[in-house]
C-alpha cells in the first residue's frame, strides 16, 4: 500500500512536470489520480453510465476493422483513440442455413477488430442497443472501416433483431477494476470508460454479464491487437486476424437457439474461424511465394482450446500472447487456451494452397479450417 502511494505521488508529479513544460501530446502520460509502474499507466478515472439519444453508427473508430483485416497505424508514437462499439442483437449465419439471433458487439460475430499501439489510450463508449433494431448494412459517413468491409463481404448475412438484455464489456487488454469498468448496463444505457494499452498482445474482449458462458456463446466477443511500441523485428508482407470460437446451437422448430447442455459439455455444433464455417474458404487469405505472413490469432473459446497449425508451413516466429518477450522459433502448432492469443509468422514456401486448421481435428471437422492461397499477382 505504501509502495502504491509512492507510485501515485510519482505519477502525479510526472504529469505536473509534463504540464509545466507544455507537453500536450496525448498518450499514456499519467494524469491526476493515475500512477505509473515501469512506464505502464494505472488508476483510470471512474466509468460513467448515462443515457444519450444516440442513433448513429454502432462502430466508430479509424482502426476498427472486420476480420480478417487489420487497420494500419498511420501515426507515430502514441495517441488517444475515441472508440464506440455498441452492443446489439443481430441475426447472423454461422454455417449454410444455420442462423441464430446473436448477441453482438457491432453486429457481427466476432465483433470488430480494434488495433492500437502499446501505450495508446482508449476512450471507450458503448450503448446497450439490444432493444433497438439496428441496421448494420447502411453505415453513415463517420463509420469505422469495419462497415465497408462488412458490406463488401456480408458472409454472415446480418439482419436486425431485438433481444433486450443487460450487457457489459470486458477488455482483456485493459487493467482496471472490473466491478467499475466492466459493469453491466441495461438496454438504453451507455457506459464510457478509459484504459491504456499497457502490454502489447492479441487480446480478447467479451461481455462479462452473468451468465457469462451464455453471453459469450451467444456471440459477444472480439479481438484487440496491441502492436508493440518498438514494432516487430520483422517486415510482414501481409497481416491477418483470425478469431476462433465455438457455437452451441440446436434446432428448435424453424430456428436455432443456444444449447446449454452442449455448452456445459464442451460439445459445440460449430467451431469457426471469424464466425462462419466457410469464412476463410469462400474468401481465402492471399499471399505470394516468399512472402512473410503475420497472423494475429485469438482463441475466443468460450470453452475449447485451439491447436493452431498451417498445413505446409512452419511458424518462423511466434510471439505468444503477442508480446515480443515471449518469442518462439520453428513452431509447427501453437496451443491456445480459451482467450489466449498469439502473433504467428511464416514464410510462404511456394505457390499453392495452404490450409489453416485447428489440429484438434474434431474442431476442424466442425468448421475450424480456412485457406491461404499463394499465387503470383494476376
Amino acid at each position: 500500500m505504501k509502495q502504491m502511494m509512492k507510485m501515485m505521488a510519482l505519477g502525479a508529479s510526472v504529469s505536473a512536470l509534463a504540464a509545466l513544460v507544455g507537453c500536450s501530446q496525448a498518450g499514456p502520460m499519467a494524469t491526476a489520480g493515475e500512477f505509473e509502474v515501469e512506464g505502464k499507466v494505472y488508476g483510470m478515472p471512474k466509468a460513467e453510465v448515462f443515457r444519450e439519444d444516440y442513433r448513429g453508427d454502432a462502430v466508430v473508430g479509424d482502426t476498427m476493422t472486420a476480420s480478417p483485416h487489420l487497420a494500419k497505424l498511420d501515426y507515430a508514437g502514441n495517441k488517444t483513440h475515441q472508440v464506440r462499439l455498441d452492443t446489439l442483437s443481430q441475426k447472423v449465419e454461422v454455417a449454410p442455413g444455420v442462423s441464430y439471433t446473436a448477441w453482438t458487439f457491432g453486429g457481427s460475430v466476432p465483433g470488430p477488430v480494434l488495433h492500437v499501439r502499446e501505450g495508446d489510450r482508449v476512450v471507450f463508449t458503448m450503448k446497450n442497443r439490444s432493444d433497438e433494431a439496428v441496421l448494420v448494412s447502411e453505415p453513415g459517413k463517420g463509420a469505422a472501416p469495419f462497415y465497408r468491409q462488412m458490406a463488401d463481404n456480408p458472409y454472415q448475412k446480418p439482419e436486425a433483431a431485438i433481444s433486450p438484455m443487460p450487457h457489459s464489456m470486458d477488455f482483456h487488454s485493459g487493467t482496471v477494476a472490473a466491478d467499475d469498468k466492466w459493469r453491466s448496463i441495461s438496454p438504453g444505457e451507455t457506459i464510457q470508460f478509459e484504459w491504456v494499452a499497457n502490454y502489447p498482445g492479441v487480446y480478447m474482449y467479451h461481455c462479462g454479464t452473468s451468465s457469462v458462458l451464455m453471453h459469450t456463446a451467444m456471440g459477444q466477443y472480439g479481438a484487440v491487437v496491441v502492436s508493440p511500441k518498438e514494432g516487430y523485428p520483422t517486415e510482414a508482407d501481409h497481416e491477418y486476424v483470425i478469431t476462433q470460437s465455438e457455437f452451441y446451437l440446436q434446432q428448435v422448430g424453424e430456428s436455432y437457439i443456444y444449447d446449454h447442455q452442449a455448452a456445459m459439455a464442451n460439445n459445440p455444433s460449430h467451431v469457426t474461424f471469424n464466425g462462419h464455417v466457410s469464412a476463410l474458404m469462400d474468401q481465402p487469405l492471399r499471399a505470394k511465394k516468399g512472402d512473410r505472413v503475420r497472423l494475429y490469432v485469438l482463441n475466443a473459446g468460450p470453452n475449447g482450446t485451439s491447436s493452431f497449425h498451417v498445413i505446409g508451413a512452419i511458424f518462423d516466429r511466434v510471439w505468444y500472447e503477442g508480446n515480443l518477450e515471449n518469442e518462439w522459433r520453428g513452431m509447427q502448432t501453437v496451443l491456445l487456451g480459451a482467450s489466449n492469443g498469439a502473433v504467428m509468422e511464416f514464410i510462404v514456401p511456394e505457390d499453392g494452397l495452404y490450409k489453416l486448421v485447428d489440429h484438434e481435428f474434431h474442431d476442424a471437422e466442425r468448421g475450424a479450417a480456412g485457406a491461404l492461397i499463394a499465387a503470383p499477382a494476376p
Partner: protein, 246 residues
C-alpha cells in the same frame, strides 16, 4: 378480443367499490413449498409460500391506459423524471392512447410505475419467491419437461419467442414471454452469512449457487441474473408486470 373484454369486465366487477375498478381476472394460488433453484441464502433451501391471488395474465395496455386516466401524475407527460429512464410508455400516441393491441401486455414501464399500478389495484408486485413459485407450479401441474422448459427460456431470451406451452391447471398465461415481469424484490442479492457474496454482480459467477447444474436450473438462473441487472428506472420493450393480492 371478446374473451379479453369479458375478463376485463369481470375483473372490474369483482373489485368494484374497493379500489380503482380495473384489474385482470385473478387466480388463487395454493400454498406450498418452494425449493430455491438459486441459493440466495446458502442456509435456506426451501421456503413455505402462503396462498395468494395473482393476475391471470400480464397487465395489458388498456388496463394501464385506464390507470393513467385515473392517475394523471402517471401520464407520460407528467411523470417525474426520477421514476423512469426516459423511455416510459415510449410509442404511445398520446398520454392515454397505447400503441399496439389494447390487450397486449403493457411494456416500457419502470419498476416504480409497475408498483404504483399494483398499489392502485389494492395489490403489490409479486415477490421473487411468489413469481418463481408460480413458474415451478406451472411446470409441475402441466407436466412440462425440464428440457422443454429450458428451451422455452433460452428461446425467449434469444429470440423473444414466447413459450408455446399453456397452463391448463391454474389458468395463468404469459409466463416465459411475451414479457419479462417486474418483481418487488428483483435484485439478486446473494448472502453468505452476514456478508454479500462476491460472486454476484457483473462479471460474477453465480452459477455455483444453483441447486443442480442442469439446463432447467441454468435457464432459471439466467432469468434471475437478467432481472437483477435492471435499474428501477429501466424501461424496455419486453418488460411488463402483473400484480398479486393478499
Amino acid at each position: 378480443m371478446s374473451g379479453w373484454c369479458k375478463q376485463w369486465l369481470w375483473g372490474g366487477l369483482l373489485l368494484a367499490g374497493t379500489v380503482t375498478a380495473l384489474a385482470a381476472e385473478s387466480v388463487v394460488v395454493p400454498e406450498g413449498n418452494f425449493e430455491h433453484p438459486v441459493l440466495l441464502d446458502r442456509e435456506r433451501r426451501t421456503e413455505w409460500v402462503a396462498s395468494f391471488r395473482v393476475d391471470a395474465r400480464p397487465v395489458s395496455r388498456e388496463d394501464y391506459a385506464a390507470f393513467v386516466e385515473a392517475h394523471p401524475h402517471w401520464r407520460r407527460s407528467a411523470v417525474a423524471g426520477l421514476f423512469h429512464d426516459g423511455g416510459y410508455l415510449r410509442g404511445w400516441s398520446s398520454d392515454v392512447t397505447p400503441d399496439g393491441a389494447p390487450e397486449a401486455p403493457v411494456v416500457q414501464v419502470s419498476w416504480y410505475a409497475a408498483r404504483a399500478y399494483c398499489e392502485a389495484q389494492g395489490g403489490t408486485l409479486p415477490s421473487l419467491v411468489q413469481w418463481e413459485y408460480l413458474v415451478d407450479l406451472i411446470r409441475r401441474l402441466n407436466g412440462l419437461s425440464d428440457d422443454d422448459y429450458a428451451n422455452a427460456v433460452f428461446a425467449w431470451y434469444g429470440e423473444q419467442r414466447p413459450a408455446a406451452f399453456e397452463d391448463r391447471a391454474l389458468g395463468l398465461s404469459g409466463f416465459i414471454g411475451p414479457v419479462n415481469e417486474w418483481l418487488e424484490d428483483y435484485q439478486l442479492l446473494l448472502a453468505n452469512g452476514d456478508r454479500v457474496d462476491f460472486g454476484g454482480g457483473s462479471c460474477g459467477d453465480t452459477g455455483r449457487l444453483i441447486l443442480r447444474y442442469d439446463s432447467a436450473h441454468y435457464a432459471t438462473l439466467l432469468r434471475y441474473q437478467m432481472r437483477s441487472n435492471h435499474a428501477p428506472e429501466t424501461t424496455a420493450s419486453n418488460l411488463g408486470f402483473r400484480c398479486v393480492y393478499p
